[in-house]
Symmetry: C2
Subunit: 180 residues, 2 copies
DNA sequence: CTCCAGATATGACACAGTGGACGATCTGCG
DNA sequence: CGCAGATCGTCCACTGTGTCATATCTGGAG
């Protein structure tokens, strides 16, 4: 019940399925939750150290290379169970393109449309990936639900990009023009 | 050109429109960019200190209370112009509900649906707010563009929540059931 | 008018999360 | 063999979040 941050909780969640090392945890996190909860290696190792100190995981022998697998403890399982049953916070979006766009007067519509266009392929790829995941027999329905969000989200982004030119059309025609 | 983080850049962007204090900047950021770039008070003051050190802003007299307004300098304007013209990064989403959902096997569909339902009013309110902003004559078309994203996004979330029960229906009927 | 509750305004600090650099170890293959 | 590249962990500086503290001003109750 000792409160966990979401990243630590996710690591416990993965460890609840078997022993894994930091590197493997990083990969698992990247593949399975990476689209809505980004986790870096640095933080994985930091959280592992902290979880280990708090007795929620223990080192389990040694793997190949310097690999250090961890096993979840009973305390760890309890902490995870406590975390998973709590009402999650609202989501946070950090969208630099929108930030730039909010100050668009200093840049002009043309450049902004280029910026948006540069992002489009990435969104199309994600959408395609989600769509193929939707058919994947290996996912449980909970993971399917997260994929379904991804599809809705990417469709929304692409739809928005589609209507952008029309919205920005009635901006001052172009170019960095200071208001006031 | 000295590279700015997005938060610092946004503060310069606001200051480009006139002198503002930390508190006023916090409010402006919250209202205008808060939905896609969350900024806390602590960070505003930290960035102001850093920008001031780097000569991009200067204290401008004193306002009422302990209020300390800042004025942007020429160096600040240049740094901002440099930042706004750079291709923005891809967005980041941090969605705790999806994290919990990814580990849904340990919780069960019923609780997850409750969790999602608890978020619904917040999304409906945001959507309503965006829809009324869309009619707002006071926004320039760049800000309209950010609002348009908000509308697409919230519609996507609400649509997803609508299909959730169906997706989770074919999960193991209920309850925390450990797999393996 | 006085006083104090509450709003305004800034700051300090610990923790969470990001990104890049570094170095060591193993693996495969020319 | 030997070395290029992948694997694995560590470190550090910086950005972002959340909470607590503190000082100042404002508006009403008395």
């Amino acid at each position: 019940m000792t409160d966990l941050n979401p990243t630590a909780a996710a690591l416990l969640g993965f460890l609840a399925g078997g022993e894994l090392s930091g590197y493997e945890l990083t990969k698992a996190a990247d593949e399975i939750i990476g689209d809505f909860w980004h986790v870096t290696r640095s933080q994985v190792y930091r959280e592992l150290a902290s979880l280990s100190e708090r007795g929620m995981i223990v080192p389990a022998g040694t793997g190949p290379r310097a690999r250090q697998p961890y096993r979840i403890t009973e305390a760890g399982r309890e902490a995870f169970a406590g975390w998973v049953a709590r009402q999650p916070q609202l989501e946070q979006i950090r969208y630099p393109l929108l930030l730039t766009m909010a100050f668009g007067t200093w840049l002009g519509a043309d450049r902004l449309l280029e910026f948006a266009a540069a992002h489009r392929p990435a969104h199309e790829e994600r959408l395609a990936r989600y769509q193929s995941l939707r058919e994947d027999r290996g996912l449980d329905s909970y993971q399917k639900a997260t994929v379904a969000f991804g599809i809705r989200y990417e469709e929304a982004v692409l739809g928005w990009m589609g209507e952008l030119p029309a919205i920005l059309a009635d901006a001052a025609p172009d170019g960095p023009a200071a208001p006031d």
